[in-house]
């Protein structure tokens, strides 16, 4: 398979601050990339750039065949992002949010029911406004959204944050399933051991640039 992500000297700004200051990165399609680094290293900005949410200011970049300097709307439709904030609308329930997202993506609304069941948001939890859910439950809703949407590129920003042991295991399971189904996964983490355990490749980011890259545990085991 060819590269799902290819960045050369990629620069992205947050306001006037260069959050990414010349990133070189290649990610093979169907592989799992773990991005490690301290707070403020640019990990979230890298995911936003790959999602087409942050403009590429300098350098070149293609994600899933889409040029990051061109129209990024086509790219966004193929990307799923689990960020730090609650996805979609806080005033709608998890069921309503997923129904809205699936209708927007022109997918069957019934996909959302199975996804919510898979992440354990059933009964009352699926029907209360999502702002009333706990942080961990809101993350589960984000995971359900990814699961129902089945994007070609999964972007997970510290996916284990706020999740209990059971949900962390589920998250790792979903990452593995996504990669096996041909999707590409990029996740950020502070936990080196946990990230390396699920990743094919590990890169370290610091000060907005990639400082080191090596193979992850999945490659070694395979």
């Amino acid at each position: 398979m060819g590269p799902a992500v290819s960045l050369r000297s990629a620069v992205a700004l947050l306001g006037r601050f260069p959050a990414l200051a010349g990133v070189d990165l290649d990610v093979e399609a169907g592989s799992v990339l773990a991005v490690l680094g301290p707070n403020g290293a640019g990990k979230t900005s890298l995911l936003c750039l790959l999602a087409g949410l942050l403009p590429l200011r300098a350098g070149t970049g293609t994600v899933l065949g889409c040029d990051l300097r061109g129209d990024r709307r086509a790219l966004r439709q193929q990307v799923g992002l689990l960020g730090h904030h609650l996805a979609l609308y806080p005033d709608l329930s998890a069921t309503e949010n997923l129904a809205f997202a699936l209708r927007a993506a022109r997918r069957p609304v019934t996909d959302g029911v199975g996804a919510l069941e898979r992440v354990g948001l059933v009964g009352r939890l699926a029907d209360v406004p999502s702002r009333t859910l706990s942080a961990g439950q809101q993350r589960r809703m984000g995971l359900a959204w990814l699961l129902a949407r089945r994007p070609a590129l999964w972007l997970l920003d510290e996916p284990a944050a706020g999740l209990d042991v059971e949900a962390r295991a589920l998250c790792e399971e979903l990452v593995g399933e996504a990669a096996r189904s041909g999707a590409t996964v990029a996740l950020t983490s502070h936990d080196h051991a946990a990230a390396a355990g699920v990743a094919d490749h590990v890169v370290h980011l610091s000060g907005g640039i990639v400082t080191s890259a090596r193979a992850g545990e999945r490659v070694r085991v395979a």
């Binding site: 936003c48 999602a51 949410l53 942050l54 403009p55 709307r73 086509a74 966004r76 439709q77 990307v79 799923g80 992002l81 960020g83 730090h84 904030h85 609650l86 996805a87 979609l88 609308y89 806080p90 005033d91 709608l92 309503e96 809205f100 997202a101 209708r103 927007a104 993506a105 959204w145």
Partner: protein, 215 residues
Amino acid sequence: MWRDAVLVCAKDLRIELRARVLLWQVLPLVLFALALGPSLVALRHGAPGMLWLALLLATVLAAGRSAQIESPEGTRASVRLLGLDPGGVFLGKALALFVELAVLTAVLAVGLLVGFHVDGVRLALAAPLCACAVAALAAVGTLYGAVVAGTDVAGTLLPLLVLPALAPVLIAGERGTAAVLQGGGPGRWAVVLGVMAVVYVAVGVVLYGPLEEPS
């Protein structure tokens, strides 16, 4: 685009229906009636202005709430990943705002009948003019809501920006409604408001996408 518009409109109306905030905007009309006193002549004379002032205040509130729905950081990012047509999102949000304001206008019209003793038949004749004006209010409110969304001072900035833009609608609406209630026809005011509505909607459809994109 229209499919996305219907989707967004239904979502906004669902959220607004639960909040039930807008119907409190009937209160200004009650306060205006109290301020004008018991004189039947003064009440009838002031009715069109009071109606449009109440609608103007409601538009500012409703536009702020409509923009607030899309403002949380996670919402903005995740919704942009849905690939919705920006023009469709604008139309959907403006349509939802139109429905909210149209319902409020109907409630306010009842208030005018009861509290301001206006002629019901004449008031009904003003409905098409009101529809054009409310469409213009909804389009302007949605567009300026997008301009200020995501800023730290959205609550302060929105009225400052939107009130001057809504002033022509207020004036034309008041003049047209007054003309109808006094036994004439809406005439050129209906045309002016219709043109305003079309222009504001067209501008909104074109500009909403660039406004939502980070520069």
